[in-house]
Symmetry: C2
Amino acid sequence: VSDSARARPTTLADVAARAGVSRATASRALAGDRRISAATRASVRVAAEALDYVPNAAARSLRARRTRTLGLLLPDLGDPVHGQVAAGFELEAAERGYSVVFVAGYNLPDAERAALTLFREHGTDGIAIVSSVLEPAEAVARARSVPIVAVQPDHDGLLDDPAALPEGTLRLDDASGVEQAVGHLLGLGCRDILYLGAGSRASTRVRCRTAERVLREEADLPLRAHAVGDDAWRAPALLPAALEGALPEAVLCYDDKLALSLVDGLRQTGVRVPQDIAVVGIDDIPFAALANPRLTTVATPTHEMGRLAARALAGVLAGEDLPAARTLPVELVVRESTAPPASREGRSGRLAVAGRGR
Amino acid sequence: VSDSARARPTTLADVAARAGVSRATASRALAGDRRISAATRASVRVAAEALDYVPNAAARSLRARRTRTLGLLLPDLGDPVHGQVAAGFELEAAERGYSVVFVAGYNLPDAERAALTLFREHGTDGIAIVSSVLEPAEAVARARSVPIVAVQPDHDGLLDDPAALPEGTLRLDDASGVEQAVGHLLGLGCRDILYLGAGSRASTRVRCRTAERVLREEADLPLRAHAVGDDAWRAPALLPAALEGALPEAVLCYDDKLALSLVDGLRQTGVRVPQDIAVVGIDDIPFAALANPRLTTVATPTHEMGRLAARALAGVLAGEDLPAARTLPVELVVRESTAPPASREGRSGRLAVAGRGR
DNA sequence: TTGTATGCGTTATCAC
DNA sequence: GTGATAACGCATACAA
């Protein structure tokens, strides 16, 4: 923190002076403008180097009317899934010369609105919203004609019309994931299946519906369902109670966090997975593969989804069209937490054992 | 994306015109300047509201020479620990009216340098660097007199002079954590202890040294040590080999990721934790508590550390002094992955059983 | 190929 | 209490 360091930062004018050219020429030279002679370009570059010149982004943005900045709104940076999306987004953005402003919205509509306003202030050239609870129409309106892509949206309208997604939307093939999971359980011979949801927003309800439909169509069986709070996974001991007393043969959980927590809660009550009950998660976070038993789950390309979001925005800003809404494939990974109920004669555990399957 | 939306955004001049005042007055009114009459302030506010005015951050920054933006440099947004730090940082920053630009540096010196240059371009008012491999002196120099705090630094100089940390540095009490962990293992009766490091940067070596010292001082025992790559935790099956053939009584791992992965790898080879070997991690990520066996680990206040970093920067920008380097307390959480070797008569497993303790 | 001049939207300095 | 005006640092339309 020396005095000289505190001095006024070097500007383009300084560089121009040192190179003996006008500011305009210096500007063009540093931009690599082919109209400037190679010799001049080189000397300007040398001067800039010597003075340790770094352009002022604010001034550039003000003049150029673009910031080379992207905004990313997501529920929570600390969440393993969203962290992964964020990492992919930042990586792709950086590779394309964009920096990223992150805002956490915690699934709060007002926080999300505030984030979009913040992006407007900062003049972000593009916006990605992950798992947003705002209706797409509102989000687009608030983006003020700045390109926006929705990643795995979670607004209520999803329930009414899942197909009506704006351009640029990126989502996981939840339906396929749930189908694969339920199909797997059915193949194992499970008939009494429960869906354990987290929260009551659209995404969990859509998954529940899909599970219900698949179970009905493929086996003419009813689905049991129960929902716990968004943070219920933090209290594993309370989770077995969500199984409604009667232990199902299998549980499909909203995500891996919940599944891993449920497995732990069950262990506390003496219920063994998969011997007494099968558990499936969704996401395939790294710890799903390290759990004991290793978790059977639906692998989702979260990092890639982040990259694709940034790539789509960079594409638009490079003059391309925003790609049509896209659904990314997911794949069931069968591990140890699921097994045929055949192996479950003499199930143990404090919970009552009662099949509700027909 | 209507044409009207694409139109030039409303500026302060528009607001001023609508309110029938000058731009200067409008600016002051919106800033809540007490010299402007309450009536005028109100009418300007109404006009701004009506026109949906949002100030232009670039223009403001250019003129005001501050951006109300903070830069956060960390190794990887997708990592559970750093994600937690990032979440805390963003939360505290937002509460204090700062937005955050994130850059991932992946422990690459050049990437970290580039990030600091980026922050300079953007004129961030403050900078936090998490787990940076740059020497503090270089980081401070590159910050160009912008306040900078180092969170849990990881530069090589740490090895020579752990005490020489610049103001504002925030770090975990690694020494205490390792002491508690080793003390716990010693108390359990473990004599043959191995430290399993990740990578070869300073932080893991410091932990190794501390473990060595504690073991020597408290029990006059030698420490075995082995290091695997930064990403070795992704391949659990390969980890047991790092135990050097002879199964130690206990393993202290660089972090929870590695510990959980090791436990999984051991399970594949038929070695039971904690019956055959005790495993301790560091961090207490959420999944440490959900593992089977639940992981004994050193809990670190990662989210809080992020908050403190943002708070320190906001404090400096509000005129306070940068707080002195601070070491945050950590606490051992004893769970299921550690047990007395007494219970280990007849250890099983494919690995040779050979104590090297005296 | 290079230079001159202007304006981006805001805040701050001065005057009234 | 309010208004005119300058300046922040850069990119670009226009001139040469």
